[in-house]
Symmetry: C2
Subunit: 200 residues, 2 copies
């Protein structure tokens, strides 16, 4: 029998190396060779675990998405039970925006992924489904908040969901250093507090 190697762990190691390359040098530099070097293995070894570069990218993005979900779940578990929807949404947004190192890594992966998805039918479908799933999650929270009386029934859940997701638009401002992470958090808290107050 062969040398025992944990296939999934190896793939995740390579994926993390890919993350670092994407974060530090951009997805254009994330060649098979560059990722292999970053991971400290030969590019032939990378080929052994990913038949093509695209397969590697897709895995790395899915893995990044899963890690983001994990971080959100961790943050949510620290909340009361049941958690206030405002706090729930706050955790999700802070993990989606590049406000701390891990989140920045996954945020940049997502950004690069979306941009590539615009010109690749396969990636487009995957990205759309992933985003639509996130949208549904948020919308469910919004609807529950309305049902629980945290939110005025005047609010259209769909529109409110879109506006909440739009807050990820703070990303370029933070990434380019136009605003500080603290200012982004201030804006988010301002928005969420206003949303869950009795105001219009």
């Amino acid at each position: 029998m062969p040398k025992q190697v944990d296939h999934r762990e190896r793939r995740e190691t390579i994926a993390r190396a890919l993350w670092r390359v994407v974060e530090q040098r951009g997805i254009a530099q994330a060649s098979v060779r560059e990722v292999a070097q970053e991971a400290g293995i030969s590019h032939g070894a990378v080929q052994h675990y990913f038949a093509t570069r695209e397969e590697m990218l897709v895995f790395a993005v899915d893995f990044a998405s899963a890690q983001t979900s994990l971080r959100v779940a961790e943050g949510v578990s620290a909340l009361g039970d049941p958690p206030h929807p405002r706090d729930l949404l706050r955790v999700m947004l802070t993990e989606l925006l590049p406000l701390h190192p891990d989140a920045r890594t996954t945020s940049r992966m997502s950004a690069a992924y979306v941009l590539e998805a615009l010109h690749d039918a396969n990636l487009h479908a995957r990205a759309r489904d992933g985003l639509a799933h996130g949208r549904d999650l948020v919308e469910r929270i919004v609807r529950q908040a309305v049902a629980d009386g945290h939110l005025s029934p005047d609010r259209d859940p769909a529109t409110e969901t879109h506006l909440l997701l739009a807050l990820t638009g703070l990303t370029p401002l933070v990434e380019l250093g136009v605003i500080e992470p603290r200012e982004a958090l201030t804006a988010i808290d301002q928005y969420l507090n206003r949303l869950f107050s009795k105001g219009t």
Copy 2:
């Protein structure tokens, strides 16, 4: 004397060809040769007008930014005098989001530019300054709105500005087909109307 060619016009023609390539195939495919073919000239001719690929990209982005400003100015001129700040901001946002063909073209150019700027010190400074300039424009409108009584003085102009710019976060939702352009407009109008109402 040389053959008479309008240098600027030629460069703009090439820039528009670059836009088309970026929009349809992505910035990674925007090689000198590809852009030349799209423009219907030889790659040697492109080199004559742009010494390097980067110079071509920077020009194309600046040109795209200028064209966006032009569209905004056109839209604003159709408003009353003085225009209501809500309408002013609405025009800016509709030209920043990919809600119609021209806006989608420039939006995609900006997105690709920002992503590259994250890993290039030179582009980073240029992009940051450009975005900061836009931020200042919006902030001036917000402050004027407060001064004119359109907005409650309780609002922090900086935070409100950040939230308005964050609305560009609807871009991925529209681009990936998760929401329709009409839904994006609905969200924007909802947000702006709420902002300029007497609510909290």
